[in-house]
Symmetry: C2
Subunit: 396 residues, 2 copies
């Protein structure tokens, strides 16, 4: 609709649609589509020809080695998805039924589910405006208040439960302050399981995300920077934990030429060879994908400088983000415009989404322990992810 006068500013949602259209041109655009610009079909063909499409096969080994090499982790264990990776990583970190697991409220519900599968309780902490991940200052203050230190670790002085583990997450690919968070975890004898589901290709300093805790996890879901259809990986520098991860995720079957003995309660979580074949091809494209995503940030950056009410999320100082999902943060004064913007952009064919509803507001988790969550609650009303596919810049 044409504005009749420059004195009446166009509504924010119209300006955002216009800026997006400036960068993306006409047509519909998904939030995040995978890019298949390498050997994907060849790898799948090779996999089918070999008949090894399932639980064993050379692509799984190759993918695990390639992921370990790419991230600088000593070992990677490929599994069926990121949630399963988290479940096993938490178990390896020693999470027991009845424990509390500290995690951001502002993350995907899978993190809370993974703890719950083990009979543990999520304990939600606040986020940082700088990087959208756990805020170490707020966490320190909260732990000081909530934790009673005992000879064997940390106890929640209000619930009486052991607090055993901290799960930092790198939101939309932006590294959180992982070094400070690991330091804090050490102070409180918490193990760290690092949720790098969204941050393949992101670095804190020169160290890849997911390699700071006793275990880290990755996701290769279809919406991630690379995909295996469905998939995930457990990262660890501890060979013993890696071997145990492999054992647990392959039904805890004891190696034997023919006998079927399982020595603990394991999981059927291994990544099928078919999916690993796709992953091997995808991983080769990482440099191109990262470059495309960075270019997209530059393009968006130029377009959104004129809109004072929104900030385009940039990589934190000293970090390298993979820019998995491009993110606008609305000013607090216009947080009531979130839904009109989502409505307008999606109606225009430009897929956008808000952040997750913070987990402490979801029915299954409303009674879980919570730190004060002013930032997470505010961010949840102000985040809008905009089309982020690598192919928006570099077409496959």
């Amino acid at each position: 609709m044409k504005q009749s006068s420059s004195q009446i500013p166009r509504p924010l949602h119209e300006r955002i649609v216009a800026s997006l259209a400036d960068v993306l041109g006409d047509g519909k655009h998904a939030l995040h589509e995978p890019s298949f610009m390498g050997e994907e079909l060849q790898c799948l063909k090779e996999c089918i020809s070999s008949t090894y499409v399932s639980s064993v096969g050379p692509f799984v080994d190759r993918f695990e080695k390639a992921i370990a090499e790419y991230t600088g982790s000593r070992r990677a264990v490929a599994v069926v998805n990121g949630t399963s990776a988290l479940q096993v990583a938490l178990q390896l970190a020693g999470v027991k039924a009845g424990d509390e697991v500290v995690m951001p409220a502002l993350t995907f519900v899978g993190t809370a589910n993974a703890a719950r599968y083990l009979g543990a309780t999520p304990h939600f902490a606040d986020s940082s405006l700088n990087n959208l991940g756990l805020d170490p200052d707020a966490l320190q203050e909260w732990l000081k208040y909530v934790v009673e230190k005992t000879s064997t670790g940390s106890r929640n002085r209000f619930t009486g439960s052991r607090i055993s583990t901290l799960v930092p997450m790198h939101t939309f690919g932006h590294p959180c302050e992982i070094e400070r968070l690991v330091g804090l975890a050490n102070d409180y004898q918490l193990r760290v399981v690092e949720d790098a589901a969204e941050s393949l290709g992101s670095y804190f300093g020169d160290r890849h995300t997911g390699t700071f805790g006793c275990c880290g996890i990755l996701s290769f879901n279809g919406n991630k920077i690379i995909t295996t259809g469905g998939g995930g990986a457990i990262l660890t520098n501890d060979i013993g934990l890696a071997d145990h991860a492999k054992h647990l995720t392959t039904t805890a079957k004891v190696n034997h030429r023919w006998d079927y003995v399982h020595d603990e309660v394991g999981y059927n979580f291994r990544m099928p060879n078919l999916n690993a074949a796709l992953g091997c091809a995808q991983l080769e494209s990482m440099p191109k994908l990262l470059a495309s995503k960075r270019s997209l940030t530059s393009l968006y950056s130029k377009c959104f400088t004129d809109i004072a009410e929104v900030t385009l999320m940039k990589e934190p100082h000293g970090c390298t983000s993979n820019y998995w999902l491009q993110t606008l943060i609305l000013a607090e004064s216009v947080s009531d415009q979130r839904d009109p913007i989502l409505e307008a952009t999606n109606n225009f064919g430009l897929s956008t989404r808000p952040a997750w509803r913070p987990i402490h507001q979801l029915p299954p988790y409303i009674n879980c322990p919570c730190a004060p969550l002013p930032v997470a609650e505010s961010l949840a009303l102000r985040i809008i992810n905009i089309p982020s596919s690598a192919k928006l810049v570099c077409r496959a």
Copy 2:
């Protein structure tokens, strides 16, 4: 080795190797390889071209519809593997933490694990010599002994726990006496979750296995009659349960254009579209695969008639087996020959395996409630599965 005299019979393992070689010819033969003789590559190519390789996509819908149609189930929900299908099916059947779930001792450990994931306890029952599945006579006698009937259902009079569910399984594709077992379950107010992981294409009378209980499950692991790499499905005639199965297996996300609300503790168990693409192609080959497997049974049948100490497993009366895994049963008098036979056949390049170690003998489950298990324990020492791939008869 040439025998010097007809008076000295050749050892059993040598005769078995010779019979197998008669049918299979020279060369190495796997226990069970998938056959890709249809549109597998085309479907994968189409899937990659669409970029929908992951959690949503037309192949998942198509595969679910095709599986429902094939089995005669009103609905099928495709998931990541058979164990996950069982876990969700048990939850849908109402299994709660602390319940006991009655299942065969002689089955894959995944069944016990699925119960354990829900905090329930497996309760093991004996097998039938006729079909290798649960023996309804033995089960009836055992339930009479162990169950205290209450107004709300069955209680184990020794442990005090509720016995809520029965999980019959169709071993190696041979239908068990599912109608009698369902009748027995009704007498004791037990829900039935039917484990048809191994029996796609098998019928009790003219009704497909997996469609008798409140839910049934299938597996499409790489060793099954058809494969999706990794995969499974939940079958049910109850539309409400089917919708709930879909909801639970897709992270319990409430349908909304952009909002991320999850209203219960769900699972990331959906089958990726890539794997469903393979499944759609595979399912088309079922008639050919079933015919090949039946021919293989005939060939083996002729070769093994001369060996009095072994019986080739045939489909139970009134049933149609898919003959997924061809099965020799050793006479009790030669059960000590199982390992020499496994050794000789595998050394010869013919992959063979015993049945599973019965679950009540596995470390995580040794303290679970057990009926007397004389048949399961005997069968475990006498079952040998021999090469069973469809392509051994009908080459792709």
